[in-house]
Amino acid sequence: SAVISQKPSRDICQRGTSLTIQCQVDSQVTMMFWYRQQPGQSLTLIATANQGSEATYESGFVIDKFPISRPNLTFSTLTVSNMSPEDSSIYLCSVEYSTEISYNEQFFGPGTRLTVL
């Protein structure tokens, strides 16, 4: 498995502003993912971020609103732009690992709890 850290752990922001969330992994990984978990809901995939290529966004999520960077194999950022109260959520990054006996297992960071006023 991997040790995944996220910064900030939580933030309270004003509407119209932007917040960049950082995700750091303690080992090199090819696949990184960003999820959103709205209050009382399950996880929804925002986008998949591979190093060296543009992020792939899921239906309902666009690059202008959620720009993603993936500068190397251990780090990624997600920006929530022009925030509104509807963006209040927990944002999670995850990485995918494969071993000799398992594959495609995803491990998650601790999450960033965002509140937009």
């Binding site: 498995s1 809901q41 998949t48 995918e96 297992e105 995803q106 998650f108």
Partner: protein
């Protein structure tokens, strides 16, 4: 489109009272079924991956089983520290996306 349905939404057990959580799924070619535990305010913690019908995996008081249409997470003699939301997720063949269910919130009372 892949679909995952978990039941019940919430479950309250007495300490030591064994039970099972259900995860029904619809995928076009199952690549893997995953179980996670999530504590309030934290990210999901990986528990198990199941790859094919008939497969079983165990970890302490938890045992996960898989059929062609559903998976069960059996909890034997639960303790209060097993209280959490348990999430089920599937990944279909040839596609990286993992689809999550809405979870079962388990409360174990001393």
């Amino acid at each position: 489109e892949d679909q995952v349905t978990q039941s019940p939404e919430a479950l309250r057990l007495q300490e030591g009272e064994s039970s099972s959580l259900n995860c029904s799924y619809t995928v076009s070619g199952l690549r893997g079924l995953f179980w996670y535990r999530q504590d309030p305010g934290k990210g999901p913690e990986f528990l198990f991956t199941l790859y094919s019908a008939g497969e079983e995996k165990e970890k302490e008081r938890l045992k996960a089983t898989l059929t062609k249409k559903e998976s069960f997470l059996h909890i034997t003699a639960p303790k209060p520290e097993d209280s959490a939301t348990y999430l089920c997720a599937v990944q279909s063949g040839g596609y990286q996306k993992v689809t999550f269910g809405t979870g079962t919130k388990l409360q174990v009372i001393p």
